[in-house]
Symmetry: C2
Subunit: 349 residues, 2 copies
């Protein structure tokens, strides 16, 4: 894979920043792009060295890996390592591991959510079946754990096992809450912190640790990862309600149709009793949401200010993430992490 | 759980041995039973200390663990450890880990095979859904890996990760071969060694290592585990064709209906062209096997000698397993392993 293909995120983030009239952010992302070129190419090369067997689990895993993705988590590892000794062998192993774990969760999610497409292509489960997609996810988890184990970064394996535990329990909580209308945001944030933010937290910590950053800075990086991950998921959820499918590559309202309660929707339902009633009925009936209800939701999200408030909450998380960086060494890597956080706040896919 | 409940296998094996007119074997199993009572009670107590959270993944995992099972793999760990320093903390952690991994594979298998019952109760996937059953399996894997990691038995974690990798690739091969009639036994043994024997191999090795048995004896134990595991699966497959559902707790011909090619069936199809043709058509049509075909299979298994030959092959594996024990220290633990191997050859569930 070419170096250019290895850094699609930065190109895209640059485009997003320009479109939002944030020329300064766009300029900084361009700088970041050339600065990170070599690191991300090294990551891609190592990711390409995954055992290329002929079993369908291996083909299913490779299918999704080859479709690319944003590689945001590996970039977080690389930037965190650059706060210290840089993106060496250990940090590269951590970057590959975090991408493998992330990809494993996508393979399992598509089975759980019965998703038909992913990254603009048919989901692995549609090509090789649900069983192969589940086993492919398991296989990637094992590959990730073996890499972390071989690298011998102190604490990295124990922390990854704890993170996978957190992710599973959060997925479980989300399953239990599916189809239930709740105005309470506690469950929402518990799910988001467990299923998404925990892996960002690990990526930042592991990158810092692999780069021999000191304990205090590693703890600060964990805080950055936690808040960045929560914001990332909140924006993801907002894009499900308001995104442009041609840009996101995902169908609109997929979460909604699966009965997943997200932040903006919970806020809107709490402020519009008519919406809460209609939505509760539709979810209980477990049928596709009628077009009239979707239009009702769209209007209520704007009218009640739920959408704006959810966006503001995500923005506040970005601010808290950036705030954590005060405790890490100053320099270009720290500036780059700030840029990543700001670009996440404005992402459109 | 009571000590008596902790050792149902030995009681059952004793009953099997008596029914087969093997009074000596029954007598030796009775001795083994009282000898192992304390070890297995310790194992049960530690298994009961799994985090008892309220998430559905935890309840689904607990449901299956509470139904018991044969605990054959933990007993192998305990006996191997008794060849050395005995069933201490490390060996107990290995015993719990191997049972958790085994239970995880059952939770995933029931989703893949759409199994409705397990251990005489509804499958976890029927009570909590497929997604919860998949996540529950993942959760148990993480619990197992965390225990192995914490025990710090040298090499145990690396070997378990390699075993899980083998198991996944074997499950994948089995998926790929499903519904295909093949007289070639190579694939069959590759699947059996990967999906079943690899975990027995680990159990024997890890028990020996935890008991500080020397390298040569550990290698011999691995050989014992490999052949025992293959024989165990071969008998399992035979029970699917000829077992008594009231004893096995499983529906007859479940593998057959899922299009899984087993040893006796492959042999019979290779010797009876009419059967091969009819079976090939039925599998290709992906419809329930007609009663007439099942009767044809039953007769052909006897008439062609396929059943007897498959039984003889399993018996030969048991002999090879016992042969490996020549290289382990003599004493009551070795005699007990011989007894377990012989009881496996005669098991009816």
């Amino acid at each position: 894979m070419s170096v250019a293909a290895a850094t699609p995120l930065l190109h895209r983030l640059g485009g997003v920043a320009s479109a939002h009239g944030l020329p300064d952010l766009a300029g900084r992302l361009d700088e970041l792009h050339s600065w990170m070129r070599r690191d991300l190419a090294g990551f891609e090369a190592e990711l390409g060295q995954l055992p290329a067997g002929q079993r369908i689990v291996q083909r299913a895993a490779r299918h999704l890996l080859d479709l690319g993705g944003k590689h945001l988590r590996p970039m977080c590892v690389a930037l965190a390592s650059r706060l210290g000794h840089g993106f060496g062998d250990d940090a590269r192993a951590m970057a590959v591991a975090v991408e493998l774990v992330h990809t494993a969760t996508l393979l399992h999610d598509d089975v759980v959510d019965q998703g038909d497409s992913r990254r603009g292509a048919p989901a692995a489960r549609c090509l090789w079946g649900n069983a192969a997609s589940v086993f492919a996810g398991d296989w990637l988890l094992v590959q990730a754990l073996q890499r972390i184990r071989a690298s011998r970064v102190p604490g990295a394996l124990d922390r990854m096992l704890a993170v996978i535990d957190e992710m599973i329990l959060a997925e479980s909580l989300q399953l239990e809450r599916r189809g239930r209308l709740a105005a309470d945001l506690d469950d929402y944030f518990q799910v988001v912190e467990g299923k998404t933010a925990s892996l960002f937290r690990w990526a930042l910590w592991a990158g810092g640790r692999a780069g021999r950053v000191d304990d205090d800075a590693c703890a600060a990086l964990e805080g950055f990862g936690l808040h960045l991950g929560v914001a990332f998921q909140m924006i993801d959820d907002l894009l499900d309600l308001t995104g442009d499918p041609r840009v996101t590559g995902k169908e609109l309202h997929a979460d909604l149709r699966e009965g997943k309660m997200t932040c903006a929707l919970a806020l809107a339902a709490g402020r519009d009793a008519g919406l809460a009633g209609a939505l509760g009925e539709a979810l209980a009936a477990d049928v596709p949401l009628p077009a009239a209800l979707i239009e009702h939701i769209r209007l209520a999200l704007e009218r009640t200010g739920a959408l704006a408030d959810a966006r503001a909450m995500a923005g506040e998380r970005i601010a808290r993430a950036v705030d954590c960086l005060q405790r890490v060494p100053d320099g270009p890597a720290r500036a780059a992490l700030v840029t990543v956080a700001e670009a996440t706040a404005h992402r459109e896919r």
